[in-house]
Symmetry: D2
Subunit: 257 residues, 4 copies
């Protein structure tokens, strides 16, 4: 029997507690909206955590036992301690998958993994977003159509300061005239990373069945291998014999060792 | 008349002052070995800077007036102030090119740009390295042969914790049995980045005419565009008209705005 | 209950019938060596086909019912009819996965999918090949170590005339001094493609447990999605309203339509 | 004094001679509209050729003396002889750059180089196209803004059957609701390839100063290196000594050679 994929849905959980408009859409928080769906997926074992939980919901044991981390955040990136970011970063390098949602592109962990400074173009105008599939054979888009349509979303626009993805799965068309790379695959160390753009807190994006299906697919895709190759680091002995000799400043051999 | 490309060769300049073996190979420092060659290239205007210069050789005016930064460092990465790294980082995002040489893969700036933690496999065994060209049409390999052969080099081995390059120009074969991605192209914001692996301080690598030619080519390639597109950030107005309306928690329209 | 992945192992099956040295290594043919292993993998349903079977073992029904095609060929590429290549090509675009082994890089189907002319550097010198893992988190390398070592293989060397892979999984080190991109991932239409270099017919490469494990992993990875997005082609109506007007040769509007 | 880049602008030149609407926009043909602009660029030496010229304007000497080929075609792809396509293909592999414009994505040469079958989504509705820059530091977008806006264009829509580009420079937003990868960089052998989407024959797209600037930049970028690495093919001797021995079917050594 295959082991389940252990998913931890982490949410900043600030807006839902402080803004009526958001509370109305996500009364239990974005993390619960996501978990309610993901818990019904047989291969997944789902738990949730928020910024306001003890240890921000991510004590060492939880980090260790997470196969795929889902991250939503917007306003409180700076309240995530650097030490916690360090631990999460190391787990990604070792193989933990991460799905960054929407404004999580400004989180410490995303910026650390990507080498970006974040910051880009945005607009809140209740506009239409259409996410076109660019790689229709990719497991992340299994079960969805040629595009996902969201009647209201915040706009983020390219050119933006994110690195070239290893694979570009979705491209967004916005009613207001922009485009944005919206489903981006990256690898760091052994960790698989998926950035998925939509999800402004004022809209019911995380009840959209296509959006949920993509996150479900991405969780499965980002799960670490069962027995990944061990990666050796540090000073290593040679596998093949080496003749080894030193040359002088001009490249002339001076001794055999 | 085309403007010259302003190249700043930055060197840690520690080993050359403290280790006889290194001093013998690079009596004036690695930066001078590189500058002596690059100064003869007509399109380039070359200056040098080291960790031990005032403001580490990189006061604001120098940073501002550098088109391409070449970086060699090994032991003293931590002595580069975070504030300086921040400034350099921002200049890269805006368009300054960077060529990271050898152990500069452990520098703060490289790690910040790449999202890697550095650290990998290495060996100092005076072994042969052969850097094979993978993209023979790329401007970075103009004028060199199918491979560059170095009789003695330190080994770095893959799998290593660096992100997938946008373009992979060189792959190293090592006498001791390993391989390493050795000429790696990345883009961050508008900045073009080239990582070039060889250059252990004990060997005369930076007198090798092919190695120097690659660095020369890379300096030309990494130079910023003369009039690159301005990238807008922050809150922007729409280009196209937006119908804009809010929907309730279930996606039903509740008002027209 | 998940449907099994239907794998068809296609083999040229020429050398094994005409060269004693090869017959000794693969008495039943390379296809049977592969099938004997793959048949034991629970998720796979395996059949074989060869150039000398009626309709080359690939009548329309077999093509239609193949999820992943494995292709080994060397000397008789030209005996595969263009019409068959066309059919296979279209199936790949629609979603059939393909694993090309070794000299299958010279096959009509590979060249057609890649846009390469084939042809590269090679040597038969019974030399050691070491395939280093470059992406340790990728599902194709699940269960193997940091590298695969083959005591005797034919050499293929880069720079070679193959397109830049979407993902580079393995890089080969050869005893004779070359390197080669040896585990290459491509996408064409909805089809996932994996090129895996080793497998000269004179060596027992396809009994090596790591090589077999990689092929098993690749078969699972290359399987088409269960419900991939339908891709619309041809003349389509707009989703959004279009104001549409013609402008004259100088870009001035001349009428509203 | 640097040698000029020899650009050959090839045009099908059918519509301009048979359709009044097109003749009005490009009275001398699309090739002349492009050439009129490119001839003013100092580094370029420009000539033109069309399908209806003797030898289709591409006798061997012209092919040999072309550094960058620009290709526009739409209806008459099949009238380009296979033999000519073969010659052009080989020149690209050897290093000739190619810029494919608009419907040239259906040309024999493009399909051969890409491994695509062409065919995709399209619409002629005089709609607005906005090409957003995704890589603002790339030389191809030097001198243009954040986007190029074309008041009327034919739509092509993703997902389309083209391979993942090595670099994605432009993404198109269409008024009718679609997106399309519109400025795509590929490498085949030593040849640099740029696909640039806009240019329906009924619109004055090739008088747009941004479109022309991109084509000018691309011509400079696609020019072959002056002294590119020679690529060895065929049977080669080893660089390093090989111990070489044969193993039996089970991998046991049986003799030293």
């Amino acid at each position: 029997m295959p082991t389940k994929i252990r998913v931890t849905v982490w949410n900043e959980f600030y807006h839902e507690q402080h803004l009526d408009m958001v509370k109305e859409v996500y009364p239990e928080g974005i993390h619960r909206a996501l978990a309610n769906y993901l818990e019904k997926v047989e291969e997944l074992e789902v738990s949730t955590a928020t910024l306001y939980d003890p240890e921000h919901g991510l004590p060492d044991l939880v980090i260790e036992q997470t196969d795929v981390l889902i991250w939503w955040a917007h306003m409180k990136h700076e309240e995530v301690p650097d030490e916690l970011t360090d631990k999460l970063y190391r787990r990604v390098i070792e193989g933990m998958g991460v799905i960054f949602l929407h404004s999580a592109s400004g989180s410490k962990l995303f910026k650390r993994l990507m080498g970006t400074s974040g910051g880009g173009k945005w607009r809140e105008a209740h506009e239409r977003e259409r996410l076109w599939v660019l790689k229709p054979g990719h497991p992340i888009v299994d079960g969805i159509g040629e595009y996902i349509e969201l009647p209201n979303e915040e706009m983020y626009g390219d050119p933006s300061n994110i690195p070239e993805p290893d694979e570009l799965i979705f491209m967004s068309w916005f009613e207001g005239g922009e485009v944005m790379r919206s489903g981006n695959v990256y690898t760091r160390g052994r960790g698989k990373i998926f950035y998925f753009r939509p999800g402004h807190e004022e809209y019911p994006t995380y009840y959209n069945k296509d959006v949920l299906k993509v996150i479900e697919n991405a969780a499965r895709w980002a799960a670490p291998s069962i027995t990944p190759p061990t990666v050796t680091t540090g000073n290593v002995r040679s596998i093949e014999p080496i003749k080894g000799y030193i040359r002088d400043g001009m490249g002339n051999p001076i001794k055999q060792e």
